[in-house]
């Protein structure tokens, strides 16, 4: 059963929902970041899959987008983690539930 595009998409969907699960259910700040990273990776997977199964363009657009999104995700992760550290230093907790100062 050579994998069809649909299968890839399903896998990436799974990956995405697992990332969502991590982001939503884990109380820890870092896990939210992890969840986000996973979701982004799933998106990249989709890009590459579509690039692979789609029509071949000379400049590999899918790849390009994936590359750029990886770069951006990395930057985002760095900043996110920096923030987590800063928050931790200030509030001495990383429990997201307690960090609700931005309440409406």
């Amino acid at each position: 059963m050579t994998p069809t595009l649909q299968v890839f998409l399903i896998v990436s969907a799974a990956m995405f929902s697992i990332g969502l699960l991590a982001a939503l259910s884990r109380r820890h700040a870092i896990f939210i970041l992890i969840g986000i990273e996973m979701m982004l990776a799933a998106a990249n997977l989709n890009f590459i899959a579509f690039w692979r199964f789609g029509p071949q363009h000379q400049p590999p657009i899918g790849v390009m987008i994936a590359l750029f999104s990886i770069a951006i995700a990395a930057a985002e992760a760095a900043v996110g983690l920096a923030m987590v550290i800063a928050v931790y230093r200030h509030y001495h907790t990383t429990n997201v539930d307690q960090l609700d100062q931005l309440r409406g």
């Binding site: 595009l5 399903i10 929902s17 884990r26 550290i85 800063a86």
Partner: protein
């Protein structure tokens, strides 16, 4: 591109991802996170985009995982305590997964096989990057430096 490899890789990555999401122990979750990303890189390899896979591994496993682990270290005091797990999120995630799969399965046009493709050499990527995507490259460069400086400032400021 064969199904077996695909299946194995799929299982591994999804398992690792699930572990990352659900493991109570922080460190284990972080490490499984790294493993999951290696799995995804493997996927990229499967899809013929080695360079991206390598980049993925290089960036995520090399840097992000380490960052995460460091952060976990830095926030030692309460890392041990488990902040619990709220099931609401799980339900929502499942619902979203159901929705997506439903959408994917519904659109028949996607169920096609992988057409033949010229091997993607780094050279092609390089030329593409340098020619049509020069501007985005410069922007990403700028973004990365900004992020770097930002992260530093966020952390550095506290030390003073």
């Amino acid at each position: 591109m064969n199904g077996a490899a695909f299946v194995i890789i799929a299982i591994c990555t999804l398992a690792a991802a699930l572990a990352a999401a659900t493991l109570p122990n922080l460190m284990h979750a972080a490490l499984s996170f790294a493993v999951a990303f290696v799995g995804i890189a493997a996927f990229f390899f499967l899809l013929g985009a080695e360079f991206v896979g390598l980049a993925l591994v290089f960036i995520y496993v090399g840097a992000v995982a380490v960052l995460i682990v460091f952060t976990i270290l830095l926030t030692r005091r309460d890392a041990g305590k488990d902040h619990g797990f709220n099931w609401g999120g799980a339900i929502v995630a499942l619902a979203v997964f159901g929705g997506l799969t439903w959408a994917i399965l519904k659109t028949q046009s996607l169920a096609m096989l992988a057409p033949h493709m010229a091997t993607l050499t780094v050279k092609r990527i390089g030329t593409a990057l340098m020619t049509t995507y020069v501007w985005p490259l410069q922007c990403v460069g700028l973004l990365l430096t900004a992020a770097l400086i930002g992260a530093l400032i966020l952390v550095l400021e506290e030390k003073r």
